[in-house]
Subunit: 458 residues, 2 copies
């Protein structure tokens, strides 16, 4: 251990290596309830070469490495393993290039996600992915977990905006994967293999992102319904009309009541479900699409439909969705945000299943999420110190994950597998594809040093 | 060999195994000039289970397997190796499901690409990728090579539309990779690893595609310029105006003269470059974008700007681009279609480099392609029977590939590496990423039976 710390200091400088218990304590956890493990050390390299140097030291000393961005993982992806070196990437926080001719942006992994779109906007450009953690998560963490967000239905996920990556491999070499070209078929897409690999194959040290022209207009529509079946019917009607909203978000009754207490939108007291519907693009297209969505909501029994008259009103209506998790998190000591996902046609049936299953297990739960993607966030309201309550949460969560898979869905739409969903992965992956995961991990990280025990055990 | 053929007949039936020289001769080549190798046998399985069965037989008999869709590869991807079993997928040609609620289509790999969008259209849905070979290539081949097309600038490439794959692995097992969910982060994206892997990791047996709402309107604008610099300036101006055309195609002087002789558009005789510009989407947005593009072309010195008044005129103008390769291919015994790609800001410089380099080597060449993607098709007009001429073509081609990489581009934007570009791959891949390619191939296909010797040699 003394050797390890000394060797790390040689690479990154003494001021960038933490080993004192009080200093490293904050790095024992990420944003996932119920998982904590103090690491051996925490290091903060300043550039890609130092990241590679840290990996060479850790390999020589057989020390596991746990990469960490903003520490906002909801699946335990950044929780250390015993004896691990946490490799904190917050010092690699520069935007290195914005190429306005080729619509690309080159960033280091520690850049806060929100800063990407803020840098693009003055050039009339747009970085669409907007995970809920956008103000505190890093772009490196977003790429490592292939983060989603509210605009997925129209704009896809982080993967869809990554043109190239520089990664530090377990052997301490740097590799450049991809190019500035939207069309590039020169060998396997290793870039895509590393996206979403949760730090188990290498450490991302640079990210080349694709930007889009910024939409000229946006419209925001909020509708409330007596029950979720009417909300789900509206979603189906929007899809059947071949509209492509940029946001199509859903809140169940418990969530909307909780949000109303915080945001004071004056929602109908007996509303059982809420849809936030947004359209962006050309002003004429946006106006038409918003009107069509409002009409479809009414035709499907909406109690009330509101349309934002200006940007300030839009932000106010959007807060119904943006405040969902913070509002719910206030209710109980622990809020556990899940992310099961199903084909969107399964919306109503899946939410009803979540209601029944959590009731059966005596778990308090509110559900909201991305109706357009079939991506739900059942949020279990509990207390992580209560062993029995946590056991019931896990039982409900597992049944819900299995049901999502039965309906053609996935055990994780946005948060990744990490530690928290590791036991669910076999519900979804057939034996052959599960074996492939392990073969690839062994091929790239034969000594199992990079974020070991995440996603699966070797 | 007799054993192999007998074992294959047991799997797929005698009528689906070819071994007679006259029968297998057509499978010695694909669409790539200069590469031919007679296989040991050609088999036509009828379903995924038979594909897996063929792989088990070939593994037991140590016979290499070369998957084949439409045989339209331009990089030798479907050319057999000695002793190979060609696994023809044309009998797996069914569209199995169109899910209009979830906007997905499930197809077998042998479906002709064009049929995908034809099946989507009656449902108001759209499959955007449109490689030049769309009428004869298969969707399985498109996925295996991550095919591009004319709509790449706005709609991306085949990869962007693949949600899931079923693949038969070298060990004869079937694996399902992906799901119907647009958001799915349950382990490494093996789907993306297999897309573009050119049949070297497994055989694709089912493909789940994502569809989009069909654009309501389209506008087509054709502009001619005195030289390519003015055309390139127009492309830059369109990007700088933050427009997102669905097509932004370029023809050089030689190509447009050749096309004019075939299509008779009445183009100006002294035109040095042509741009085909298309916009699709909401009618108001399309009208505005088309007008802006026409104005930008004029502002950048266009000799003539035409706008299609109706669908028939649009098809006529589009034929300038669609007929480019067929028209050029008539000029000489052999036309070799290349696909170097650079960041789009390098358009003019790269085309000039192609002109100079082919002139230097005494190679007749015309260049056209996807200006919006920086993806060019220098087309070498030669005779593959002329050894000396082919040597000069290869010398020019290699210099052009190296220059593309120097300018931040790729040695292959659309056609893949196959055999023809294998020696170029090291120009682009650093040593670490090249080593990763081999590690992954060895992990998944340890006996090197799947399309061996394609992309790289082990």
């Amino acid at each position: 251990m003394a050797d390890l710390a000394a060797a790390l200091r040689d690479v990154v400088g003494a001021q960038n290596v933490l080993t004192a218990p009080a200093d490293i304590a904050p790095y024992a956890r990420d944003a996932t309830a119920g998982y904590a493990q103090t690491p051996a050390a925490v290091v903060f390299p300043g550039d890609a070469a130092q990241v590679a140097g840290v990996l060479r030291v850790c390999r020589a000393q057989r020390a596991p490495v746990v990469p960490r961005g903003g520490g906002t993982s909801l699946s335990g992806g950044a929780v250390p393993v015993p004896g691990a070196v946490v490799l904190g990437l917050q010092k690699l926080d520069r935007i290195l290039e914005l190429d306005a001719q080729n619509l690309t942006l080159l960033a280091e992994p520690g850049v806060i996600t929100e800063k990407i779109d803020e840098a693009a906007a003055p050039h009339g450009l747009f970085y669409p992915p907007d995970p809920g953690s956008i103000k505190i998560s890093t772009i490196g963490g977003n790429v490592a977990s292939n983060a989603g967000g509210l605009r997925g239905i129209k704009y896809g996920v982080t993967r869809d905006y990554v043109l190239a990556l520089e990664v530090a491999l377990p052997n301490g070499e740097l590799a450049w994967l991809g190019s500035k070209c939207r069309k590039d078929v020169a060998g396997y897409s290793l870039r895509d293999l590393f996206i979403g690999s949760e730090g188990t194959l290498g450490v991302i040290t640079k990210i080349l992102l694709k930007l889009l022209p910024r939409p000229a207009a946006k419209a925001t529509v909020l509708a409330t319904f007596l029950d979720l079946e009417h909300a789900a019917a509206t979603v189906s009607a929007i899809i059947a009309a071949r509209l492509l909203p940029c946001t199509l978000e859903f809140l169940d009754q418990k969530t909307l009541r909780c949000v109303e207490a915080v945001v004071r939108l004056g929602l109908p007291v007996n509303a059982g479900a809420l849809l936030l519907m947004e359209s962006d693009g050309h002003p004429a297209a946006v106006a038409e699409e918003a009107e069509q969505m409002a009409q479809l909501a009414r035709a499907n029994g909406a109690m009330e439909v509101r349309r934002a008259k200006n940007a300030a009103e839009a932000v106010h209506l959007e807060s119904a969705r943006r405040q969902a998790y913070p509002a719910l998190a206030q209710l109980r000591p622990t809020a556990i945000l899940e992310d099961v996902t199903v084909p969107r046609s399964e919306l109503a049936a899946m939410v009803r299943f979540i209601e029944e299953t959590t009731r059966k297990h005596g778990v308090e739960c509110a559900t909201f999420g991305h109706a357009g993607d079939g991506n739900f966030h059942p949020t279990y309201l509990t207390d992580e110190r209560d062993v029995e309550a946590m056991r019931r949460v896990r039982a409900a969560s597992r049944e819900i994950a299995a049901e999502a898979v039965r309906r053609g869905g996935t055990v994780s739409g946005e948060h990744g597998i990490g530690l928290a969903k590791k036991s669910y992965l076999a519900l979804q992956r057939d034996a052959a594809s599960f074996a492939l995961l392990k073969q690839i991990k062994r091929a790239i990280d034969p000594e199992n040093l990079l974020n070991p025990g995440k996603i699966f055990d070797l």
